[in-house]
Symmetry: C2
Subunit: 246 residues, 2 copies
Amino acid sequence: MTDNKVGTYNFVAEPFHVDFTGRLTMGVLGNHLLNCAGFHAADRGFGIAELNENHYTWVLSRLAIELEDMPRQYEPFSIETWVENVYRLFTDRNFAILNKEGKPVGYARSVWAMISMETRKPADLLTLHGGSITGYVCDKECPISKPGRIKVTTDMPVEVYETRYSDIDINGHVNSIKYIEHILDLFPMETFKEKCIRRFEMAYVAESYYGDTLSFYREEVAPGEYDIEVRKNGTEVVVRSKVILK
Amino acid sequence: MTDNKVGTYNFVAEPFHVDFTGRLTMGVLGNHLLNCAGFHAADRGFGIAELNENHYTWVLSRLAIELEDMPRQYEPFSIETWVENVYRLFTDRNFAILNKEGKPVGYARSVWAMISMETRKPADLLTLHGGSITGYVCDKECPISKPGRIKVTTDMPVEVYETRYSDIDINGHVNSIKYIEHILDLFPMETFKEKCIRRFEMAYVAESYYGDTLSFYREEVAPGEYDIEVRKNGTEVVVRSKVILK
């Protein structure tokens, strides 16, 4: 039974997808995780294409990734994904990242809502396809903590950025992966010479659009632990993030 | 014989790899082309891994892409690649981009040199593996013109950008694909609402590094035709590009 509940997808760390240390970038890993979520859902009848026909879509709310290691340039690796919980308004989807020997080197947790494309209001997941999504819930272990609270109090941005053509996805929003890249670009390259990202969290709070001015606020809340908040046009919070370096 | 000379690789246009129009971005297409070049060379014994063992590596000098159409989100497409010419210091590698029906929707040309990783000096391609690379030369048609001359005379940059962590590849250089993204980000999003990129050229002249300040100079040399030059730290030309919109 678990076989059909867990989807496994194979990748190779491409040359333009690794950073200066030769390790896969967090943005590319995030992209692969979200693609795997899409493949897994589509194969089970609740993918974006099927939802869109009924004017619904998936919206990513939270993502937390914890890693001991990252695939190196040209290394094959794989990603497993499964549904941990389905609630009325949210579903928890987990991931394992396996190295070329098939050993887990990291895990991720994500939280998704389904919304109406017309009203942008959340839909009831328990009535989707007669509740069939609950049949895929799987108790495979995901030994990392759930996304936590991220709190930034500073009012001094470390960066101000106006969104551009390459930031914008087919929905007209700044895409979820671009935020990851912009957030990690707040750190000087030297940071990643000495340290690796042990845990990375994203909370997607609101959408931003082409031409919006994004302000990035960052606080070191513990040694090597950074909380980040991105606000658009001086006020509204768009995303929050936590970066833990080790 | 042609079968073994032409490599074919299959892709799907992923959600985070399309722009706001739902079409594959030029940066992602460029990434796929360069990956295909790598796969094709590696399969024939003159890939980066083999060259690196002997302290040589491939360096991309020119890239020209001409397109009638771009794959849309979730559409499968494929890329063919083959070697057109081998000279002493350069080799010409061409590409065809095929849509989901297998019809060519675009072509690309690239020019590569092989250099010594120690001296950074060009190596003689005709003596590589006893000249075996010449055995892969193939006369398949590539009906687009060769990379041309790009000339920018203005001294007023349209953009100034300091390179960041996410720009830098495993060799410590700003990666070839990031230049493509930065160059297209010089255009307002509205440009790509009305027009598509019909032809795109890159000339890679010199390397830039973390913390370099890149200045982007752009001139409209004919209606819808833009020549772009990127200089680092106020002086040295790093890349030149041509964008033709239709």
